[in-house]
Amino acid sequence: MSAQAAPAHATVQAAEQGGVLLKLVIFSLSLGIVPLTSYFASEKYVWNGNSTFAAITAIVAANVVLVAYIISSVRDDKAEREATKPSESRKDR
């Protein structure tokens, strides 16, 4: 990488790290909070005390959080690659 691109890259990295950390914290907390709240809420209000269905609801909620994480990380990676590609092609010309 050329010396001109290094400062821009460093500022982009610094700006990204704050956002990345926040996203990770949100996902970690939701991975703990979402299944438990969905278990107790669905047991009380949706399934009328049937705890097996409430457990299934909690597991589905946990897997939804997982899939959301995978999709958001793939999308972030794609957006980042689109952002760095046009600047490099302009330099080649």
Binding site: K23, L24, F27, L31, Y39, S51, I59, I70, S73, D77
Partner: protein, 161 residues
Amino acid sequence: MSSCPPYAPFFGFAGVASSMIFSTVGAAYGTSKAGIGIAGLGQFKPELIMKSLIPVVMSGIIAVYGLVVSVLIAGGLDPAQDYPLYSGFVHLGAGLACGLTGLAAGYAIGIVGDSCVRAYVRESKVFVAMVLILIFAEVLGLYGLIVALIMNSRASEARCS
């Protein structure tokens, strides 16, 4: 010998504890082993770290499976009601089923996560294969959870004689 001895809740609570303990051991192994690979990857390509954290999140899901089964079994334990030894054994079996399958799944996720994350540094097409293998490793814990749910739903069938 009655079918509701006073030591029956020992097995019920042992089921609650074993579900949480063993699945957490599996999740801890998975997190740490995958973390070793991510620390290696982060030196060379830090922009790939968010995608390579997927094994760690999947290990967390294994621990959530154990947590949900613990909460489920503990919700069926009530000192005010009769607790036959049959229910104690069913709860113990459910806890062990979920806990030990979570241990197996976490072990698999750790090893797969470590190697695939290291390979992802050089070849980006490994990512899809990694996610597929991790999904197969995680459904092992899901099978244990399903068996635990089925067993737990039959825990209230016996009566005190």
